[in-house]
């Protein structure tokens, strides 16, 4: 047949054929083109243009409908082959899946946290539009100033940027029903509060505006948890009446299980039902500050614009009411996205931990790339034969890629299983860092993440191995191709992967070392009190029963006597709070501004702020706080006697640096002056990592305020817990015991967040070290196996066994040393990002760097020892004969 150039339509057909798998085209492509050419000519010759179009349409539809089937069949075939090969190499498959699974599991678990806490919108209606109003006393150093009812009214009426503004605060009340009484956390909120967050009650109705009118009959919404646990999920709860604050309250509904913010409450009531919030004084007193305030941005208004709007209102209020906003306060308004506010403390740690987990995955990839390479060496013969039988390099490449994908997907399954197990532990960990921890779960986006991890993993480790095989395959097929160059190149690649693993592990180990060291420092901080053998009971009095100072003083006396009477109690005290009290840390402590006698307060200067603690005489002995000068309180410090106070060392140092503070006077109200009777040692009241605050102690009898009962025991204080509980309830069964813990436990709980970071960092870096070191050991073992002949020759030429061992170990140490140097340099650059999380530990702490280097080298030495012994055990005669 004479030559003719391919017609356009035939070229088009050829192009369409490209949707078919390569193998199919290779086998039948030209035949199909030929058949099509003949068919086309036939139709052109015999039929109309219409039939030609029909033929084209049928052809195109046909090819496009069969292409997916052909691809799927090929994939199925490849997968079956891959699974067969994986079963044949069960050991390799197992290790690769486990190592990658650990990496994917660590990353997936950390991603589930980041996803829940930082990426997902708040579980409220249009949660991204919600803002937190944060009033501050900038000059006085007050970061969060609650709102008073008149302020809320002003912000609500004067703002131009919010479509709604609601308030909330929490109180402890006693709830009576059918002769039972229970202490409950009551959320006091605006009537529109739940509409604002888009929460519909599960039972009954929500609050309505009429429920918040003055004089409206009090109504309650129950939290889901309270309804389930305390009311047994009673379906006919709506309409039930509880007696509270000497008034009947009717239940109107039950809330769904939602994350409650800013704190978890048992019941909710409107502002007019709260006896404090609705008291005549609080409605007009600008200084009666108790409430948190939330706003919803109007459509199109940015957070910045809103911030500006509210700051202007704050400035106007400051000018309008100079009495309520003294110049020294520095009244100001900060507006924050509620979503950001909820994770403010956790964000840097979360990002750090996610980066850490990703690094573990990267190490796992490098490790499996090495494993795969080692396996390729063993499979070389098979691959060469298959190539010789006509499998194109593209075909082999795809076969390998399929194997890698299956491997990675298996690893992802393992990783997700690990993450499922880890998520429960992690949400407990993370509860120390953010209130959103309860939202942590494995959801579709987390699953997608793990699949993406698997795919990326397969591409990363697979492409290294596949590239290598492609280049080598052609080379090894050329008989006698320079095998030395080849194996040298392979060895170099393997070495580079080992060095990378060691370097990454080193960085992680340094990070873990620094956070652990920082945590140890934190543990060894002198808190200023002796937590050993001391027990603290946090308590809450029913306010409607103890209204006057005399009543509170009387109950404090009875509590003290009751506690002192318990056998095994060495000392006891009743106080307003205690050091590291978790409630004071989350809900704010009793702080006030004070004046020093003889140091006139300048209007432009901010007044110093101090923490105040009311305590019975034995407070200092019970907690083991040293009195440095003067005296502790005694029974003669009564309400009617000369008012005295004990100040912390820091106050004494600040205000009377060269004078005796005893006998000096201070005032917390600017009118009544209190004489300093003693100086107590500084106490880390608000956290072991925080500065000890300026603190004033006042006698309980003079300024009664009851928040805790403290005892010091002869032995283990936790044995006393049940006795102390009974002793408190014996005084008044309606007293709510909010917590009962040894002070050792309190102290340990106060550092749970840094402990969490140190723990997770430790786990991740240990994982990384194990992966890297096993990678090193298996690589050295492979090297020894490959060089058996060379080693045998050396030995038969007189090399000693120890010389051979040294050679292997030396090779291992060279790799680890290079990795360590790379890791060291990276660490010096990277650890500065850790510095904000470190306590009294330099990011370049020499001891940590030395210790970690020693750990790494030690482990590497151990890992190298096993293959070294095998090398030394080679019998040159047997080895050479078997060649």
């Amino acid at each position: 047949m004479p030559y003719e150039p391919a017609a356009f339509s035939d070229r088009l057909y050829g192009a369409i054929l490209r949707v078919l798998p390569f193998e199919f085209r290779k086998e039948f492509g030209s035949d199909m083109e030929q058949a099509f050419l003949e068919q086309r000519r036939d139709v052109e010759r015999r039929s109309s243009f219409g039939s030609l179009l029909t033929m084209w349409w049928a052809t195109i539809r046909d090819i496009f409908s069969m292409a997916p089937r052909e691809h799927a069949m090929l994939l199925l075939h490849d997968s079956q082959y891959a699974l067969r090969m994986m079963r044949k190499n069960a050991g390799y498959t197992f290790f690769a899946v486990v190592i990658l699974g650990l990496g994917i599991g660590a990353s997936t678990a950390m991603f589930s946290v980041v996803n829940a806490v930082m990426l997902k919108p708040l579980p409220y209606m249009q949660g991204n539009d919600l803002v937190l109003l944060n009033a501050q006393g900038r000059k006085a150093g007050i970061e969060a100033l609650p709102f008073s009812p008149p302020e809320i009214k002003d912000y609500r009426e004067r703002n131009h940027s919010l479509s709604a503004l609601v308030e909330s605060h929490s109180m402890m009340f006693t709830l009576f029903a059918k002769g039972n009484s229970q202490r409950v956390h009551a959320g006091v909120v605006s009537a529109s509060y739940f509409d604002f967050f888009g929460i519909k009650p599960r039972l009954g109705r929500g609050f309505e505006a009429s429920d918040e009118r003055d004089g409206a009959p009090p109504v309650l919404l129950l939290s889901y948890e309270f309804w389930k646990e305390r009311e047994g999920g009673d379906p006919s709860i709506v309409g039930k009446t509880f007696e509270m604050n000497d008034r009947p309250h009717v239940v109107i509904g039950v809330l769904p299980p939602i994350p409650q913010y800013p704190r978890e409450n048992d019941i909710y009531m409107t502002t007019t039902s709260c006896p404090f919030r609705s008291s005549p004084r609080s409605v007009v007193d600008r200084n009666w500050r108790l409430m948190s305030v939330f706003g919803r941005l109007k459509p199109g208004v940015t957070l910045q614009h809103c911030g500006l709007d509210l700051s202007l209102i704050a400035a106007r209020l400051e000018r309008q009411y100079p009495d309520a906003y003294p110049h020294g306060l520095g009244y100001a308004m900060r507006t924050a996205s509620l979503r950001d506010e909820l994770v403010r403390g956790a964000r840097p740690m979360l990002l750090l931990l996610l980066a850490t987990a990703s690094l573990v995955l990267l190490i796992a990839c490098a490790n499996v790339a090495n494993l795969t390479q080692a396996r390729m060496l063993r499979r070389e013969k098979e691959l060469t034969i298959r190539a010789a039988l006509g499998a194109g390099s593209g075909r082999l490449l795809r076969q390998l890629v399929t194997e890698n994908f299956i491997l990675s997907l298996l690893a992802a399954v393992l990783g997700v299983a690990l993450a499922f197990g880890g998520v429960r532990v992690l949400s407990v960990f993370m509860a120390h860092l953010t209130p959103r921890a309860r939202e942590i779960s494995i959801d579709p986006s987390v699953l997608l993440f793990s699949v993406v991890c698997a795919v990326v993993t397969a591409i990363v480790f697979g492409s290294i191995a596949a590239l290598y095989s492609r280049n080598d395959l052609s080379a090894s097929m050329r008989e006698g191709a320079s095998q030395t160059t080849l194996s040298r190149r392979r060895a170099r690649l393997r070495s580079m992967l080992i060095v990378a693993q060691v370097a990454f592990s080193y960085v992680l180990l340094i990070g873990a070392g620094l956070t652990i060291r920082s945590f140890v420092h934190l543990q060894h901080v002198n808190p200023g009190f002796a937590p050993e053998q001391a027990l603290a009971a946090g308590i809450d009095l029913n306010w409607s029963k103890y209204k006057t100072n005399a009543q509170i003083r009387e109950v404090a006396d009875r509590l003290l006597t009751s506690a002192q009477r318990q056998p095994g109690v060495v000392a006891a005290a009743v106080s307003s709070s205690y050091p590291l009290d978790p409630d004071a840390l989350t809900m704010g402590a009793w702080k006030t501004s004070f004046q020093v006698y003889g140091a006139p307060a300048l209007a432009s200067e901010k007044l110093p702020i101090t923490a105040v603690r009311a305590a019975t005489p034995d407070y200092f002995r019970t907690l083991g706080i040293r009195i440095l000068q003067g005296r502790a309180f005694n029974d003669s410090d009564r309400a009617e006697s000369l008012p005295v106070a004990i100040v912390s060392k820091s106050i004494a140092r600040h205000y009377w640096p060269r004078r005796n503070p005893i006998g000096q006077k201070v005032s917390v109200d600017g009118k009544n002056w209190i004489t300093i009777a003693g100086v107590a040692d500084d106490v880390k009241e608000f956290g072991l990592g925080e500065q000890a605050p300026d603190q004033i102690y006042v006698p309980m009898a003079a300024q009664p305020s009851v928040g805790s009962v403290l005892v010091r025991a002869v032995g283990d204080p936790s044995h006393l817990a049940s006795e102390i509980r009974l002793a408190i309830l014996a005084v008044d069964p309606q007293i709510a015991i909010t917590r009962l813990q040894s002070l050792d436990q309190v102290r340990s709980d106060s550092v749970s967040a840094p402990r969490t970071v140190a723990d997770l960092f430790g786990i991740f870096s240990a994982l990384a070290l194990i992966i890297a070191v096993t990678g090193l050991a298996s690589m050295l073992a492979l090297t020894v196996r490959q060089r058996t002949r060379e080693i045998a020759i050396r030995m038969s030429l007189g090399a000693s066994t120890s010389g051979v061992s040294r050679m292997v170990v030396g090779r291992g140490l060279l790799l680890v040393g290079s990795g360590a140097v790379a890791g060291l340099i990276s660490s010096l650059v990277l650890t500065r990002f850790l510095s904000s999380l470190l306590f009294e530990t330099s990011p370049t702490d020499v001891l940590t760097f030395v210790a970690i280097t020693a750990v790494l080298l030690g482990t590497a030495l151990f890992a190298a020892y096993i293959p070294a012994r095998r090398a030394a055990g080679i019998d040159p005669q047997i080895a050479l004969r078997s060649e």
Binding site: D31, Q34, T59, D62
Partner: protein, 115 residues
């Protein structure tokens, strides 16, 4: 042979097309179209999908020694029935024959004709 998966009508048609001798791709297409009076119109994609499967199952094979036809194109490839292929085609035809017989005994075909 008993374990042979059932033939699709298109596959059976291809086997039938090869029953009276080896043919190249387009010849098979044409034969199927003509024999069925245009009722079954295979396209190249489906045809080669079937050829691939029949080759893999050993029902047809490619002709190694090409016949010296006149005006033949060197690019054509010829296929022929194997022994297995012939047996499968015969078995399929017999199965169909039995089906038709049953349909007749139920007077289904007659009934169809009368409508």
């Amino acid at each position: 042979l008993e374990k042979q998966p059932p033939l699709t009508p298109a596959m059976f048609n291809v086997l039938l097309a090869l029953a009276d001798g080896e043919k190249h791709g387009y010849a098979i297409l044409k034969d199927v179209g003509e024999q069925t009076g245009g009722e079954v119109q295979l396209s190249t994609g489906t045809l080669y999908g079937i050829i691939k499967r029949l080759l893999a199952d050993g029902l047809i094979s490619e002709l190694r020694d090409r016949p010296a036809f006149e005006n033949d194109d060197q690019r054509r490839r010829y296929y022929q029935l194997t022994e297995d292929g012939r047996s499968v085609a015969v078995a399929e035809a017999q199965r169909m024959e039995k089906l038709i017989a049953r349909a007749r005994s139920k007077r289904l075909i007659k009934a169809m004709k009368s409508t």
